[in-house]
Assembly symmetry: C2
Homo-oligomer: 183 residues x 2
C-alpha cells in the first residue's frame, strides 16, 4: 500500500475488528452507534462504496452473496490497519461547532435568541449523553485491562466527560449572558 486511504476507510476497517463478520447494513448501524461520537456517521451509500474499495484492495473478505453478505477483515486488512496506526500522521481534532459559530455573531440577533439557542443546545447535549451512556453500558463487563472492550470503553468515557464539560460551559455562558443583559 503505497498511499494511505482516507481516514474514514480505516475507521470502518477498524469497526470490523470487533466481533463477528457483519453486513454493510449492520456496519452502518455500528458506525451510527459509536463512530459518530468522535468521527462521523457515514451515509449508507458511503459504507457501500468504501467497502467496495476495501474489497478491491483485498483488505476485507465477503462471505455469502446477495442479501445478507457479510464482511470481515483479511489478514492483509489487519496488517494494513496496523501499519496505518503505526506510520501515519495523527493530526489534530477538527471541531465543527455551529453553536459556537452563531454565538460569535451574537451581536446580530436579539440576546434572547442566543440564550434560547444555548438552552436548546443543552437539551441536545443531554440527549447525546444518554445515547452515549447506553453505549457505555453495553461495553461494561468486558472493559478491564486486556479485555475486548477496554479501549472502546476508554473512548466512551472520554466522550462522556467531554459532553459533561460542554454542558458546564454552556450553563456558564448562559449565566454570563443573562448577567450582562441586566446591567
Amino acid at each position: 500500500m503505497s498511499q494511505d486511504l482516507p481516514v474514514t476507510s480505516y475507521a470502518l476497517l477498524g469497526l470490523l475488528t470487533f466481533g463477528e463478520p457483519i453486513t454493510r447494513y449492520e456496519l452502518k448501524q455500528r458506525a451510527d452507534a459509536t463512530l459518530r461520537f468522535y468521527w462521523v456517521a457515514p451515509a449508507m451509500s458511503q459504507v457501500y462504496s468504501e467497502l467496495d474499495r476495501l474489497h478491491r484492495h483485498r483488505l476485507v473478505r465477503r462471505a455469502g452473496q446477495g442479501r445478507g453478505t457479510t464482511y470481515e477483515l483479511t489478514r492483509k486488512g489487519r496488517a494494513e490497519l496496523e501499519r496505518w496506526l503505526e506510520e501515519s500522521e495523527v493530526g489534530f481534532p477538527v471541531l465543527k461547532h455551529p453553536v459556537a459559530l452563531r454565538l460569535l455573531l451574537g451581536a446580530l440577533v436579539q440576546p434572547e435568541r442566543t440564550e434560547q439557542m444555548l438552552r436548546d443546545h443543552l437539551d441536545a447535549l443531554a440527549a447525546e449523553r444518554i445515547a452515549l451512556e447506553d453505549v457505555r453500558r453495553g461495553l461494561a463487563g468486558a472493559d478491564g485491562p486486556g479485555e475486548t472492550y477496554r479501549y472502546p470503553a476508554l473512548v466512551a468515557d472520554w466522550g462522556l466527560s467531554y459532553l459533561g464539560h460542554e454542558q458546564d460551559i454552556v450553563k456558564d455562558l448562559l449565566e454570563r449572558l443573562e448577567a450582562g443583559r441586566s446591567e
Copy 2:
C-alpha cells in the same frame, strides 16, 4: 434567498462583520486565526470561490480592483446573515477526532505507542491553547457587554475551557493506561 448557502459561506460573511473592509488574503488570515478553533480553516482557493459566490448573490461588495481589492458586507448581505441566524437549523457539533479513533483501536498496537500518541496530543493541545490565548488577549479591552468583541470573547473563553478540559481528560486517560499496564 430561497435556499441556504453552505454554513462556511455564512461563516466567512460573518467574519466580514468585524471591522473594516478587507482583502481575501486578509480574510483567509482572519479565518485561520479564529474560525479554525470551532469551524474550519478554509483553503485559500475556497475563500476565493466563496467570495465569488457571495458577490454573485450581492451579499458582498468589492472596492477597488486588482491587487488589494477589498470586500465588505452589503446591506443585503447583513440582512441575509441575520435571516440565516434566525431561521436556519443549528445542528449538533461534529467532532473529527483522530486521537480518539486511534485509541479505540488501541488493542492493535503496542501500549507504549498509544501512550506516546496521547503525550504527543498533550503537546499539541498546549500549543493550540497558547495560540488561542493570543487571540483572547487581542480581544481584551472591548469584550464587555455591549462592546465589539463581547461575543468573540465568549467564544474564545469557550474554546480555552474546552482545551483545558481536553488536557485533563488526556492526562487521566494516560494514567489509566499506565495503571492498567502494570497489573
